[in-house]
Amino acid sequence: MPRPRRRRASGIVDDSVRHTRKLRHEAFRSGWDELARSIEPLSNITVGTEEITITLDLPLVDHKQVRVRVHGENTVEVYAKTKRTVTFDDLGIRHRSGEFTCYHTLMDLPEPVDGAKAIYNMKRGILEIRLPKLR
């Protein structure tokens, strides 16, 4: 009988961090997380025959400030610093005092992917991530 694979401590910590972030994400469905000073971007996942394509709308972001990380085979994390701090005041909202410095999201994928082969580019403020499916 094969022995169960031992998980590295860093993997367990990663899972725990992701779980905590997800809980916080669920609690702030509006997409404006004042505590983390982050904005949940609009996103879209398209499943093709060979690959999964993710797009995210990232206005006010320079492409050099985008970080994409694939966790395991089914989760993608995107962090992108905004060019400037965005406040609710900038958006015409005076009764809230939040300010935001980045976009952040964790996305569950419908099928496993090969994260090592992920490629991404940004055009017209839209980040496109292409992830080959695992066969």
Partner: protein
């Protein structure tokens, strides 16, 4: 205050449960206007374009659309509660803009009320402005504008401003408005700019406004819309998310499909 009240024959809600939509005119709106509709849809193109018209032309708020089938919300402007769907006027141009996603179950009654009201006011032309999702939008520098019309005689009016959408499906409020315009003998045009599906698209809104200018002569400087594009996209993020939820309920993706019959 003049109230115009319509009860549509069928609203798509529970059996026998008729929903009502009220068009409230807070100031007198003269007959014979051109009506521009800016309802939330693909890429929020209609909302962005119509809002830009309202602000750049300094249009006056003259009425609203009220319905129990809309979410129980008001929009606060200057501390004062306003209806999320309002009517603005400048000379012979009227514009309807919605600041909330229209629930799929309210679409029938809303479209019916808008067309009946436009007909009762002898509107010269009803123009709905919106987006048409294309997959490769990132690679399109200048979105093309397509048009659907109630009468072939309106094609001449289009000139080179838009290409006629020859075949295909339209889904959502603009589809119903156009069909109801046809049924009610009200001249109607729908202008759809190539756009993102679920991301606010100010460039597409600018393209549709340029077509509108060629057709009607209504001038609006779109440079601000383009310069402030990133801020506009961020500000419109939440209404886009809610609109996307409603578009899914309406099977909006059917617009990508090919109709089986010709002619």
């Amino acid at each position: 205050m003049q109230q115009v009240f319509f009860e549509p024959a069928w609203t798509g809600v529970k059996d026998g449960d008729l929903e009502s939509v009220t068009v409230v005119e807070r100031k007198e709106i003269p007959q014979g206007f051109t009506l521009v509709n800016g309802l939330p849809d693909v890429g929020l193109v209609g909302v962005l374009a119509a809002s830009h018209l309202v602000s750049s032309l300094k249009m006056e708020e003259v009425g609203s659309i009220e319905s129990e089938s809309l979410p129980p919300l008001v929009v606060l402007h200057g501390g004062v509660p306003r209806s999320p769907i309002r009517i603005f006027l400048k000379e012979s141009l009227a514009t309807i803009v919605s600041e909330t996603a229209v629930p799929s179950e309210a679409v029938y009654s809303l479209a019916d009320a808008i067309v009946k009201w436009a007909g009762s006011k002898k509107a010269k032309l009803v123009i709905s402005v919106g987006g048409m999702a294309v997959q490769n939008r990132q690679n399109i520098e200048k979105p093309k504008v397509f048009a659907a019309l109630t009468h072939e005689s309106l094609i001449e009016m289009l000139g080179h401003s838009a290409e006629v959408l020859q075949e295909g499906y339209m889904v959502g409020p603009y589809a119903l408005i156009l069909k109801k315009c046809l049924d009610s003998k009200v001249s109607g045009v729908t202008l759809l700019a190539q756009s993102f599906y679920n991301y606010p698209d100010p460039e597409a809104a600018a393209a549709v406004l340029e077509s509108l200018e060629k057709i009607t002569g209504i001038k609006s400087d779109v440079s601000e819309l383009l310069q402030k594009g990133e801020e506009i996209r961020l500000k419109a993020k939440d209404i886009m998310r809610r609109t996307q939820e409603e578009m899914s309920k309406m099977s909006k993706s059917q617009e990508y499909e090919v109709p089986p019959l010709y002619g």
